[in-house]
Amino acid sequence: MIILSCSFNHLTVKKNIFQRVFYFYYEGFRSMTIGRTLWMIILIKLFIMFVIFRLFFFPNFLNTNFDTDQERSDHVIEELTKPSNDYGKH
């Protein structure tokens, strides 16, 4: 709501709040210089992280291998209660 009270030099006062917010961001992005490079880096980074890393290399182990929370908890309990001599030195 605070943005309602903002003054925009180049926008007509007839624009509603959503249009004003949209143009605020739109003009901001348009007038960026170094910001364009940075946004490019952000987008490439997010693509690598969420599409390549997340999809191909980082499945959630418990969600992928077990269907229910009961199965997941049974698995973890089994892992945690193995005899101690099955663990090596850290």
């Binding site: 605070i2 903002c6 961001y25 850290h90």
Partner: protein
Amino acid sequence: MENIDLALVNWSRLQFGLTAMFHWVFVPLTLGLSFIMAIMETIYVRTGNPEWKRITKFWMILFAVNFAIGVATGLILEFEFGTNWSNYSWFVGDIFGAPLAIEGIMAFFLESTFVAVMFFGWEKVSKRFHLVSTWLVAVGASLSALWILVANAWMQNPTGMRFNPDTARNEMGNFWEVLFSNTAINKFLHTVSSGYVLGAIFVIGISAWFILKKREVLFAKRSMLVASIFGLIMSLFLIVTGDESAREIAKVQPMKFAAMEGLYEGRNNAPLVVIGLIQNPDPDTTQLNEKEFAFKVEIPNLLSYMAFLDPNAFVPGIRDLVRGNRDQGIISYYERIKRGKVAINTLAEYKEALRNGDEVRSGMLRARFDDPHWVNTYFKNFGYGYYDDPADLIPSVPVAFYSFHLMVILGGLFLIVFILTAFWVLKDTIETKRWFLRVAIWTIPLVYIAGMAGWLLAEMGRQPWVIQDLMPTLAAVTKIEASSVQITFWLFALTFTILAIAEVRIMLAQIKKGPKDGGK
């Protein structure tokens, strides 16, 4: 888990360490620079002097570079929790999930909204609203850090929860106890104030470069003045929070405290080692892989005072913790290992009784997990049950000792840098101290090293625990192929290196351009 693969554990640790340390390259500068920018903009709004606007906008560009390249790097840690640390992720339950969810929501709304106003809003919104946005970005960044640090503090000092043996998860018993534990408060204050110090050193170092180049001297001196006064106040605060943190460590992580001082034999009137060189004993006849000092400089009684605010207090050493000390009420690690095995076996027997439909036995075993005495006596030592040899429960003493002392010594150096900077800028003689300006530039990498040393102490100093006393690292890891962790480790290393190079190159280019119109 037939003979856990140590290569898997070590690669998983290495991968997490790499990711966390890379993430921490960006976070402290965001924390520190945001407040310095807010102070500079406040001066601009109060004085109306456009030079301060120009100064603010220049540092805002460097903030933007750092923010853009660093943003979302922390999310990789969350991927790793699900893939590489699934036992841990399950075990911590909503204790870890709740703070991280709050962090995500806060970061999104506060930062995405007000960062946009901060960068796009010059001349579009009122001066005061822009200033409020800048301050909200600064406060929001620190508050975002709060939640992940609360989660980390809980791992150092698990409190405010109860363990549910039916689900093998820890459930939040008291949110406020988790949020306001002394460990969480100290961890938050010490960590964010270290970020503020880093931001101040960064501004002073870059400004020193401008003065050495005889460019933008007024801009540089004004930046230095703000940064040095801010840095000086934050350094003093850092000392106070560091002191509080040390006292908390002595209480809840006495092994880490002993390791960071290389203290094997506990004593009253314990001295603080100011500097020292650790070596292996020759011949090594110890059973605990003990080290000794080749030389050391000590201050009498100071360690006792630091730990318990009493110069005569007894500070337990590593041997006291392993072998126990009846006079001081310290239970030996041998006893804690036995109790831990009881807790693990009770959980196993409970599940077995459930499987067999033995309601009487399962009900009896289940009741133990609700009995405060049993929980305090046995469950609180759950993690010890994974070990047979107490030597495996001792962290690397050289890593803990050197990282602690490096952090403290560098912290002292930064304090001197702030005092001298403020003094010479106010005397208007900083331009003549060219040697000091060079030192100020080289202090930038040192402040990053100090921050990393602090995290090394926090995380390596508490090994073998991923959750103090409850879950060791080797039980937390997912049983997957070590080779797959190696692949992702190298992928991360490559990606992070490219991002780091991009950060440095873009930042250097912006610094060389200097504070012109401020840009966007």
